[in-house]
Symmetry: C2
Subunit: 149 residues, 2 copies
DNA sequence: TTGGCTGCAAAGTATTTGCAACATG
DNA sequence: CATGTTGCAAATACTTTGCAGCCAA
């Protein structure tokens, strides 16, 4: 697998953008994340690592990272802070979320992916991405009374 | 199909909440919407209909409507205004979005729904909902150069 | 050198909330 | 009439932006 920093640099070059220390540091920090991260997590992380990258730069870099397919939006709901996920070099997967305790599990179901392509093809479109979230109630939460989506 | 206003009233009663004129008006306005709506659209619509329901009341009512499964989140992305969709009494469907022109198409694929249930069952969970969005580039947009998700 | 990039702080947007008046049950 | 609900406006929370100095190419 290619070095993430170098890969992102190529993406920047292809757009005639500059390879800066801040952008390198952001990619380096992200490539070590395991879970979903929020902007605030990343900013704190960078600060802890002694990086100079500011919150504004992080916000400005996120769209570039999405564009280069190194990260993707993992959670986004009205009124809630969004979470992202570093995906470069990690197997594709979707998520199961417990609507009560918010725990999440990754899964992959090839059959669903294939049917998605069928659907797009059926309408004459080219599938370029998808977002699938399954909402469940996990056994531990099943007893308590809370809202279900 | 039950009257949406009455159905929502029952939901409110079941939670020991009050049936107010504002809440009735919101449901009545929603039951006539066809497309995805943003909070602002709804507020404007209510004002035009002479309803007294304010923006704050709309925001406070949305979670109740989601809970009662009369509406659902249709679009939500970081930094963008969310859009909702009235779903009561309308066939279940998911969406295809063109990432360039933002047009959207509804589709239903029973096979995907069944596989989703399999996935949840496989992990020992009860599936209570899902969100599936397919991102495509429509033929008209395919020529122009724009970002793909 | 010449733009693109950065940090800072200010500005925007979307959404939530405190409070006093009001309406429902 | 007791308490949930409402409108208003202020407060939040998240994200974007203008600008002057900085740095990559």
């Amino acid at each position: 697998m290619r070095d993430p920093v170098e890969l992102f640099r190529e993406h920047l070059r292809s757009k005639n953008m500059r390879c800066t220390q801040e952008r390198d540091e952001i990619v380096r920090a992200l490539s070590k994340t395991k879970k979903h991260f929020r902007i605030e997590d990343l900013v704190t992380d960078l600060k802890a690592k002694g990086s100079a990258a500011s919150r504004a730069t992080v916000y400005r870099t996120i769209p570039l990272l999405i564009e280069s397919r190194m990260i993707r939006v993992a959670e986004s709901n009205p009124g809630e802070e969004s979470a992202y996920e570093y995906i470069y070099g990690r197997g594709h997967h979707d998520h199961l979320y417990c609507t009560r305790c918010n725990a999440h599990i990754e899964f992959e179901e090839r059959g669903i992916e294939l049917l998605q392509m069928d659907v797009a093809r059926h309408y004459g479109y080219k599938l370029v991405g998808h977002r699938l979230e399954l909402y469940v109630v996990c056994p531990q939460c099943r007893e308590t009374g809370a809202r279900e989506i």
